[in-house]
Amino acid sequence: MSDFLMPSLGADMERGKLVEWLVKPGSKVRKGDVIAIVETHKGAFEVDIFQEGVIADLCAVEGQEVPVGAVLARLAPSDKAPALGTLRAPANPVAAEKAPEVALAAPPSPEALSASGKPAKVAQKVSPMGPGSRAHAKVTPAARRRAAELGIDPYTLKGTGIDDSVTFADVERASASHVGPEAPAGPTRPGRGFDPLQMRQAIAAAMSRSKREIPHYYLTTTIDMGPSLSWLETFNTERLPDQRLLPATLFLKATALALREVPQLNGFWENGRFRPGSGIHIGWAVSLRGGGLIAPAVHDVDTMTLPELMIALRDLVARARGGGLRSSEMTNPSFTVTSLGERGADCVIGVIYPPQVATLGFGRISVRPWVTGGKVTARPIVVSSLSADHRASDGHAGGLFLAAVDRLLQEPLKL
């Protein structure tokens, strides 16, 4: 028997609201199965489990606020699964800051360690559910029609109908009391819990803590993107639009391989010391359409091919914007990359997301004069900028890292 604990879905998370159980006592679960929906300031997340077994007991009820590290469910070993001890996670809320990697802190087991061992399959990273978790909520046809007429999002309402469905009357009541999506009448529905105000506060807390505690140092390098872009163009011309790669995949892969060379940037600053990340799980900053920012992880980026990475990235961005992120994607990024894309600024000097120890930014790719072999030519260039925690590394390491990123981007064929 082992315990499954409320994961920490971000450094600033102390507790989460259990919105919905997706399993029952007796349900068989496998690694990667989504077992619950948990809502935090950042929205609703699908909590996935990291080991195989049978749910023996649910220790929290829907609607309950559960501190990080408290027991959510008890798991009995299934016939095949090896019996594991408690999935070790912070035993108290304070510990959330120490151990964001709930699952990966588990005792060694082939399952739990797959992150740092063999390459994980892309399929595990791609949600079969697609964006959003609307399927969890039931809204009757009459309620949907009425909600559309009144301009109310029925998925934010508490349902009183059959099977807790949101009914016509629920929508009318919500309308009568001027309750819209901004201030839900009851518990928000899974996948729809995003609240711009709360997210603003969460970002404020994390960024204030970062600037208060982390002695940042900053390095920038300007990189010639000529070789990468021409390779990308050749690669993409032979492919259908949905198989084409974006420069972001090259940035991510180069970053991951550079982190292999400079591992002191990949990990966490906890309890006055550096703890290396157990894999190269890179948080990818996604700006949300309603405002706000989230940086869920792409796991084991260093082991993925570029097409795999593109698929994972697309899926991750869609789910970040539509709801349906997994807890594992929130708990364990060990480094963060920000890419401003085509419409961004030339350069971004990032703020480290604690307890990570570094973040890398890529500005807009733009054509600039570039000197090679004594001649000035027009080249596409990008400014890469590293913000790193001086407690965990020094400028020398940061310099080596940026040089590695530059070198890797000159040889895209090897990525």
């Binding site: 009757t140 009459a142 029609r145 059959i162």
Partner: protein, 333 residues
């Protein structure tokens, strides 16, 4: 002139059926009654008792035990200008006359290009609840409601039993009337001001705002009893007597369900392929966006209706199931 306000008369459903036949025989010389044991024996459910003495053997005719023969004879008489009433002892036995009903009665007007009308009324007993076992207890009216060219009526009140026959006889096409065996003993007061009922529309028997309970025949009193209980809990069920199974009165049914947004259909037929299935399909085809809960059906268990009392009760739609279903559909509010 009699008194300006006639007094309500209390009578049984059986008596109402008998008086309807008496009226028809009295008012129209083209009308006669035939069937098994309708004369000397007075009808196996005693509906026609005394009519032989009153109208004589030319107009109250006992027939051999051959449904195909006497239904066929009735169709022939109707084509020839009579307005016969044919009684089939129970709808289970009507299957022996199915060929006459479908291939002749329902089809001749169409196949003759409208040259031959079949103004025939067939009465038959239907339903379970009197421990008559499988061969005398089934509800097959839903099958007949499948057939174009037939009109299918299911009187669920004494008033409809009293007045539907006249409207049916006035119809130029074959009309089947299904009289429920449990209802024969039910008594009610007849409003003397009502002299006819229409056989084209369903009727709201009890208005309500929360859920529409559609029922017919002997399911109607069960639905009304359920509505009484539910009202004490604050749930206002609207009871709609479907009563015309073919052609279904979409307008009344849709109007009710549009208002209540929830629907329970009570049907003593088996659920698969039943009239309740047809109604549920029409509701989802036409009112999908009005619904606030899934449509629920309460039907007979899919078994030959058992003989023993407790098993027969368990096999039939019951008031308690209607109540439970309504509570579930309405949720916690």
């Amino acid at each position: 002139m009699s008194s300006p306000v006639a007094k309500p008369v209390r009578m049984s459903y059986r008596e109402a059926c008998r008086q309807a036949i008496r009226d028809a025989l009295t008012n129209d010389p083209r009308t006669f009654l035939m069937g098994e044991d309708v004369g000397l024996y007075g009808g196996c459910y005693a509906v026609t008792k005394g009519l032989l003495d009153e109208f004589g053997p030319r107009r109250i005719r006992d027939t051999p035990l051959s449904e195909s023969a006497f239904v066929g004879a009735g169709i022939g008489a109707a084509i020839a200008g009579m307005h016969p009433i044919v009684e089939i002892m129970t709808c289970n036995f009507s299957l022996l006359a199915l060929d006459q009903l479908l291939n002749n009665a329902a089809s001749i007007a169409h196949m003759s290009g409208g040259q031959f009308a079949v103004p025939l009324v067939i009465r038959m007993a239907t339903g379970a609840g009197r421990q008559l076992a499988a061969q005398h207890s089934h509800s097959l009216e839903g099958w007949y409601a499948h057939i174009p060219g037939l009109k299918v009526l299911a009187p669920g009140t004494v008033e409809d039993a009293r007045h539907m026959l006249r409207s049916a006889l006035a119809d130029p096409n074959p009309v089947l009337i299904f009289e429920h065996i449990v209802l024969y003993n039910v008594e009610d007061e007849l409003d003397p001001a009502v002299e006819s009922v229409d056989i084209g529309s369903a009727k709201i028997r009890r208005p309500g705002r929360d859920v529409s309970v559609l029922a017919y025949g002997n399911s109607l009193p069960k639905a009304l009893a359920a509505a009484d209980t539910l009202a004490k809990e604050g749930i206002e069920a609207e009871v709609v007597d479907i009563r015309v199974l073919r052609p279904l009165d979409n307008a009344t049914i849709f109007e009710s369900v549009t208002r209540t947004r929830r629907c329970i259909i009570v049907d003593e037929g088996w659920k698969s392929g039943s009239i309740s299935a047809e109604i549920a399909a029409r509701l989802s085809e036409n009112l999908f966006f009005e619904l606030d809960a899934p449509i629920r059906r309460i039907c007979s268990r899919e078994v030959p209706i058992p003989y023993s009392r407790h098993m027969e009760e368990a096999a039939l739609p019951q008031t308690s199931a209607i109540i439970e279903s309504a509570r579930t559909l309405i949720g916690s509010r």
